[in-house]
Symmetry: D3
Subunit: 225 residues, 6 copies
């Protein structure tokens, strides 16, 4: 299978600790024996810290996005370093480069690409671009809930949702650099227009990536219809 995995920044670079990089490197290395793997890494706290400086300097939202992208690329490089020879040792700056580098037969790891969308959107566009069989979003929650699980104790995990329904939920939310809502608009639109099979799982446990690939019931699945 050709798989695109988006790993949230808050998952992989918690408190500048190297452990998650190491854990993901091991799991991705194993998966790459059987699958073609593309990874998109988010920015996490270092991105937010740097974005704050740009916002304080009053440089505008696009420039905030821009610095955030730079940080995601450093994070992506850290994962590359952890993967060693199993990965192509350069972070693609756009989708065309990701495709090119994949000719090496190695794992591809990238960060953001351009202002105006989150790394979630990047992973969805990438999945479309490389015609992935599966898009997995590794985030800090167990999936999508019918209510905010931090506020409501009776919030229930949604096991399956259509791209159309998800689009309804997301519309009207504000967009600010570094604070893109759980899957931004562009991400859902891509998932919908190309009927990408997508699973949102808790990435705090890297093993969930394997489970999702193996078809175990986990997280929230976005289906095209």
């Amino acid at each position: 299978m050709r798989i695109v995995a988006a790993i949230g920044g808050s998952i992989i670079i918690k408190d500048y600790n190297y452990k998650k990089f190491q854990e993901y490197a091991e799991i991705l290395g194993n998966l790459a024996k059987e699958h073609e793997i593309f990874v998109v890494v988010g920015g996490g706290r270092p991105a937010r810290d740097y974005i704050q400086i740009v916002r304080d300097l009053d440089c505008g939202e696009a420039k905030c996005d821009d610095i955030g992208i730079e940080v995601t690329r450093i994070n992506a490089k850290l994962l590359l370093l952890s993967l060693e020879d199993k990965a192509y040792q350069k972070v693609p700056h756009n989708f065309q480069e990701a495709l090119e580098y994949s000719a090496s037969g190695k794992i591809i790891v990238m960060g953001g690409t351009e202002p105006a969308h989150s790394t979630d959107a990047v992973s969805a566009i990438l999945a479309e671009y490389v015609k992935a069989d599966l898009l997995i979003n590794l985030t800090s929650v167990d999936g999508m809930y019918n209510k905010d699980p931090n506020k409501y104790s009776d919030a229930e995990l949604i096991e399956e949702i259509t791209a159309d329904e998800m689009l309804e939920v997301i519309k009207g939310k504000d967009v600010k650099a570094g604070t893109y809502e759980f899957f931004d608009m562009t991400a859902i639109q891509m998932i919908r227009r190309s009927a990408l099979e997508t699973i949102i799982v808790n990435g705090d446990n890297p093993e969930n990536l394997v489970k999702a690939i193996n078809g175990e019931k986990i997280g929230t699945k976005i289906v095209s219809k």
Copy 2:
């Protein structure tokens, strides 16, 4: 003023005629004496023709976008050639390059950047990126109507609309490469998040660009509130 002008492909490259390139070159050259000008050129019919091949080859929507972008860049190059020394003679492939090239003090002309958004979105992100004072969208209609003017004879031109209202109108429309609706989602989101002053005018008459810049009442104005 720093101005971003988006010129629709259907406006500038009608039937492979050179005249509109020449007319726009003259007008932009004059405007550049007083203003800093960035132009984003669309794909038009050649883009649609090429996109159709990619769609027939069943390569997926992202690749359709990709070929469309290549065509917009050729169109942009044609405008560069028409502008001669008044423009920086290279088409930027992303926003960062557009900013860099603008250090030359010359007119910058670009096409698309990446899959998943139209050249309208490109112009909005660019306006945000270079902190433009004004974004002008030159399209094949006189502005935004309350109904489709091709179907309803009593359709009325909207003189002013907020980004929020416009977002409402656009939501739920389908997104397909080369057929992005009048201003796509990303475009409006950028306009809203950065309160970009935006005017939509009929670009068939290039003089409308001058009128919009001079503050004449023309087309549809998108206001932040």
Copy 3:
């Protein structure tokens, strides 16, 4: 064998139809199992349409060539898309890049490189550059005739011609962007100086490429002596 195939633009992109791309992709994909394949794609009608605009804008012949080259690269990209994973997914812009990308072991597809020579010349230089065993030129006629077959019904196909003889035929013809004569000067000079084995066949039937490679008597063969 290491093979360079030049596919004329008028062959591959007739009326913006996708079929020839598909047919060539299948044949090239099969050939690549046994041979190392480099392809050079021409511009065809879209190139001529765009060149006309540049000529009307009075930008000079070198810029006409330039736009023509851009279009050949889009055509090359279409063939890349058709070939999917069998080709290296980037169009080389010069010979050095073609050689580099060939390290991937995949099919290489390029268009033009620089003003002042046709894609026929590009294919000949490329053949020399990668030390190809065979150069095949797929064109819209059955090969070289002793007279213009469109004008004279008794025109006869030349089965074999030396590079020296061919050079005599070509000398003195005018050179204009997009209208390079059947094999331009540079092409023949390269064929001669490096004694490149070259076959000109009718590319309207992609099977002729296979026949030429298999040594069947077809088209016109250019021999070094």
Copy 4:
């Protein structure tokens, strides 16, 4: 005058605060009216945090340097953003690029270049490369002391030192990514071989940059003989 200013990371990006960027931007912007300015920005704490991850992942010292360089480039970009149109809006990755970008007549800001030397060395090589009249090193101490001022209360600031003497002091110190001693070997060697006029001042007060340029007695001056 053509001036290279090295601003230590610990000076400019203390606690992810934007203030020092703003202060330096104002001062550099003013200086640029009279002088040609090149700036080299260090990594500071974010660099050390990222380097620690790479060291924990056991990727070797060169890779630690590598990540540190990436962070210095983000810091350089922050300064670029603060300088707006007064700076060339791209971070050079090597000396050749720095020279090229300087053709714009704008302020150039870069970070590190390659493993094996600190941004101090980068600033010295850059000063040599662009034939700077003056190299100023803005660091977190008042200059060079005859003893460690943190340990010895009677430590005295050295007002002037030759490059030869400084080389003696530095020899034999260990080199580890991110912990390069106060001016590394390569820096001193460049200063010596090209007799670069160099001043080390406390950068915590950005005004010291102006004072050093104006020839006020401040910090430690490295003289060639």
Copy 5:
């Protein structure tokens, strides 16, 4: 005026002496105050020495050209270094880059571009590409003679020749890397198709460049008709 000057390698880098670089730098620097200057530098003896190695290694003519081009670029860089701030400090690798860099308003210096044509051809294509008013070829002889002046004492300098006549002279000559005849085919074809005003003068005396620009009767003039 916009002027392209081709300086033969045998002229500028005789015996690895720096003097001619210095002399040309001074003259070009002065000319640039009034004119827009583009220079193309040849390979000379170092190019021939390196090409010989490639020929001995039996790598084919295109690779011989390739190494020769690399050497012309080093020679071009030497001239850049001599010109200091008066030139754009990067050697363009193709015509597009030459045009881009010229936005700096500085002197542009390049060497070869691609296999299959000499730096004479490069200068002619460049002249066409930038729409130069004048192309001057600085070579080791006083101009074109009706016979080889080294063999015949009664050889006479041709003061004026049409591109058509010149083409006749050149046809049929052999083409080998590094030994391109006095103006290769491609050069003449470009001169002819674009009616480029061209003067061939003895470059051993750099002052001849000034004379040719000032319209003094010197060398051989190629006229379009």
Copy 6:
């Protein structure tokens, strides 16, 4: 094993003869069947000839280094040409590129990278960067001597030396472009900080490279302790 071999310029390009390129190509090609090979090629006499021009032009030491680097890259390209398909046909300009190109599984050949260090230093940094098992320095002498063997007949070859001891020897020597002493400072510092196993052998006989790899007692070994 992953091996970095530095071949001195004076070894490989003696009198513009092709033989050493051929000999090394054969030996490296054989070694590549079992080992991963990275080669760094020096500048030799052509580099010194070109550097002399730059020094005569009074462009400063960094620019002398710069031209020297350009020449090492041409020399590297000659070795690439000799190696044909066994090598990745592009000379990396920095360590990151060397690592990237190595994804091809082919031999990598590079020259210098940046001013301020010799190709010996480049080979040491590269060894650290790619985590080489062995660094071999092929030079024009049999190894390191306790005295200058050209002056003292009783000079003895040092079979083993620690990086610390070597650093002592080297300190205080002058650094000038093109005349870097036997292993420059940066080289030794990298060898020391990463405990790189290093052997210095006489490269005049390319077989010594094989002997060093096979563990035969030859040349001078630098040990970490």
